[in-house]
């Protein structure tokens, strides 16, 4: 079965708002969690990653929150911009199991 799940396939946010993307995982041995961004007809690129020894990691407008007991992690994008519009893929584990992706649309 799917080891990493993104339950919401799409999200629309107003420019300047906070985008929140969620991801659940099944294997409690996973110790690495990542978010990749993908534009149409382009390859995925790493946005931000975190290891299981921390609960949170910030990088500019991006923050990853990790809830190990709930087997859940999320990506928060503050001050969302139209150029943030893309598909966001969460991934977890040493062999990187990916979620199905969630399309974020930031409307002006």
């Amino acid at each position: 079965g799917q080891q990493v799940k993104q339950s919401s396939p799409s999200l629309t946010v107003q420019e300047g708002g906070i985008s929140i993307l969620n991801c659940d995982y099944e294997n409690d041995m996973f110790d690495y969690f990542a978010w990749y961004k993908k534009y149409p007809d382009n390859s995925p690129t790493l946005l931000i990653s975190v290891r299981s020894n921390v609960d949170k990691r910030e990088d500019g407008r991006l923050t990853v929150f990790l809830n190990k007991s709930g087997k859940h992690f999320s990506l928060h994008i503050t001050a969302s911009q139209p150029e943030d519009t893309a598909v966001y893929l969460c991934a977890a584990g040493s062999k990187l199991s990916f979620g199905k992706g969630a399309k974020l649309t930031v409307s002006p």
Binding site: Q6, P9, D31, Y32, A34, Y36, D41, N42, S43, P44, T45, L46, S49, L89, A91, G93, S94, K95, L96, S97, F98, G99, K100, G101
Partner: protein, 115 residues
């Protein structure tokens, strides 16, 4: 300039034909991967290679095989392609031995259509 190169970008084949997808990287990365991406299914790992002639099945290896004879090249082979192998195939590489997760660098993908 770090790069993962995939050839070709687009490919159309008939059912039953053999297919060869090529991937190269210029970063001396040890670990390389083949994924396929289908609508609504995200990226699914087909095979992972930890180094030359050291390959391991991913989550969906059936119908595929791989070859890695040089560290910088990783090929995906479909013997007798099937229509359900129509997909976008991504190659990726990472620096280390792949046993602990690291940043993946992806190629631009090959869109394969099997008629």
């Amino acid at each position: 300039d770090m790069k993962v190169t995939q050839m070709p970008r687009y490919l159309i084949k008939r059912m039953g034909e053999n297919v060869l997808l090529e991937c190269g990287q210029d970063m001396s990365h040890e670990t390389m991967y083949w994924y396929r991406q289908d609508p609504g299914l995200g990226l699914q790992l087909i095979y992972i290679s930890y180094d030359v002639d050291s390959n391991s099945e991913g989550d969906i290896p059936k119908g595929y095989r791989v070859s890695r004879k040089k560290r910088e090249h990783f090929s995906l082979i479909l013997d007798s392609a099937k229509t359900n192998q129509t997909s976008v195939y991504f190659c990726a590489s990472s620096l280390g031995q792949g046993k602990s997760a690291e940043t993946l660098y992806f190629g631009s993908g090959t869109r394969l259509t099997v008629l």
